[in-house]
Amino acid sequence: MATDRSKHLNDVLTTHKISKEQALLDKHKSKRDDIVTALNEEYGTDIYSPFNSGSYAKNTAVNKKFDFDLMAPFKRNAFSTLKEMYESVYDFLNEKYQGTAYVRRQKVSIGIEFYADGDGHVIKIDVVPGRELNKDQYPEDRKLNLYVYSQFGKIAEGSDYIRTNVSAQVSNIRDNANRNDLRKIIRLLKVWKIHNNKVPKSFFIELIVIKAFDKKNVSGSLWDMLKIVLEYIRDNVKTVSLSDPGNTGNEVADSLSDWDKTVMSDDMANIVKRVDENSDNIKLYFPLNDKFPLNDQKNSYGGGGFSVPPVTRFG
């Protein structure tokens, strides 16, 4: 039976609403507050106020593989090098959360993944340390330098840093929020990324979707709009320039290797082709979150939260 593509996409957004995971969200907020308090206590006057910088702040979060990004802005004189800043924050968090969480060095952040609690909830918070460029400059323009711990697209590990303005990145999405359904499309692509374990960073997705809205007349039904964006990415991802709203000198397109861009273009081409060919295929690329079934969600094979195949295949 044919699927109403736009209705399905709306259902996808509904089942992925962050508000459906209120308990998990509250736990993230609580842990975030703990970390902020700890950082303030540890670094005192060396640190400005940490703030939310991820998808939750941008209102583009979905409720699967949910995490918080916490920006930790340090003063210029707090550390002599960015590496020292990064390692200091890592050592501090590792020491503090040892035995209660996995603490990992990531590309520009330090990941804290708390062990599952009694409800099976796993709280994940990425702390992004950044240092102001010059003494007392941060309160003026919010610009920070981030340390690149490991290879970040075309940006080499250890040898480079990223200068950015995370506050401006957050407000970029907020400023574009008046655009019709922009954030819906970003959320849908994040659902695709999460369910299919794809490479592009959320930030990359956000910027390329904004670019598609800039360049194309994105209108029509939800599927029409998504399709226009998918086609834009398919045709342009290999060449598009995506400048960081936090620092126009940063080329965010470089955070994805040429090879990964080719794969993303192929991904988009496949989605458009398969969904045009058979509307049911939309369910593979943009699945509902089975954890929060809709009232009218019926399972073709009967019962249960998710579909199971009949015994019709052999080896």
Binding site: N197, N270, N281, R313, F314
Partner: protein, 548 residues
Amino acid sequence: MKERLQQIVSVVGSIENVTIIEPFTIDNTTVKGSLEVTVGDRKENFTVFIERPYPAQFHNMETIRFLNKDLIIYDHVNADGSICIHTSHHPSLMEKLHIDIASLKAWMQKYLIDQSADSHYEHVITPMVAVSGIRQVMLFTDLNHVFKPGDHGTINYSLLAEGKVKGIRTATYILQSIKVKGEDVECKWNKGYKALHPHQGMFVFLEGPPVKNKRFMVEDWDDLNGVLPQDFVDLLAATERSLRQQNYLKISVLLGYPISDNEIHWQLINVEKGNFPVFVDKIAGARTIHITRLKKQQILWGDTKNCSYEYFFGRGLLDSKLTDSKILIIGIGAIGSMVAQTLCRGGCKKIDLVDYDAKEPGNVCRSEYQFSTGVNDKVDELRVQLNDISPFIETAGNVMITDGVKFLWEDLDGQKFFREYFNGYDLVIDCTADNDLAHLIDRLELDANVVNLSITNHAQELICAVNPNLYMSLVHVLKLLNKEVEEDLYNPTGCWNPTFRAGYNDISVLVQYAIKQINLTLMSAKPLRSFYLSASEGNDFQIKSITF
């Protein structure tokens, strides 16, 4: 035949720069004559034999031969002086004669006048001699050692198999190792072949092949006096003495030499008991000197084949991302056994197998098993077969692991164990068609590539689901295909478990297509994607591939 003779004379006589210098006659069914062929300033005479099948080839050989023994030193001339030409097919005798003589002229220009060298190595022509009616063949691989001229010592080799070639008994051996300066240098066979019973022989390494006329191996031991190191000649004599009381037919001697900067070749010589080619020569002088020398005696050359991985799979192999992968195949029924054999023949070096089931006669018609081996664990039987196919494959078998996944699933340590077990492989191929297993493996969120292959009844579709999101893709495709519970299944007598209907050809055409698609994706370094193949019904067979 007369008409044929006239036709040959007429055609040959009409070809430019070709003169008949000895008239063509018929000897039994062979037409024979002599020609003078001119290319530029060069004139050469050739005796021509045209055999009865001409213009057809026979056993891949041309049935026309141009002979001139004086040209034996030039490239592509056989020991009998015949020029080695391979020309294109033509059904007309007249046209074929034109083609073949043009090819002879081309040979004269390239190898006689220009003396061009071929880019590939042409092996020295070695006359093979059977020992006590048995032809001997020694297989070897690359050896991780730099040999120097004059190196000599002992070898270990094993009998691989005995058979017949054109009615001649043929024994095939594999070289196991060479002991040089106290170091055992091993051939790169897998463990199974290395475990074969060893025999001892000898080796000597020279700076080049001992040849006459550039490309023909010497045929007499006497020709090797001054070529083989004296230490080695002494060793031959000592070996004969030390084995005097032993019961043996012959010993094998390998003679090695470099054929390029990074490749060596070995030739086999057989030395029969009681017929060692050595004698003690007395050189008179102030003091008589005794020196061991080589007799005037025919060398019993055997045959050798370089079976290094590169040659063994030289005709074609899968992409290195597959061949270098550590692979686990779960479920080795029709699909799994075909996948295993295809990967093995494609050069894969490490394939482990999992299946709890036993092979029964009913499995043979559509999987890679044999009737002759009776009822066996599939894992054991397929491992033997893979080992029979490739001396480079290492395999291990497991009959428990899939049961373990289900029994221990709820146990967190169990999940950790299985995650580590499967992540020990680069590629896990699940051919069980077990939905529970597919679901559980998917939930492990493995780093390893996981490919799930299954087929629908009558081999209408083959489904290939890959991780991440493997289970969901599988469910999705089955939903799309709208498969209802199958009723037209095959129920073997006395069997409680009905199975699908499809034959070897029906299944293998889809399995090969799927492996081709996977291999192409890996070659292009792109990520694997789920897909399904749909076989058309009716006479105009086609396979349609839908990739997600």
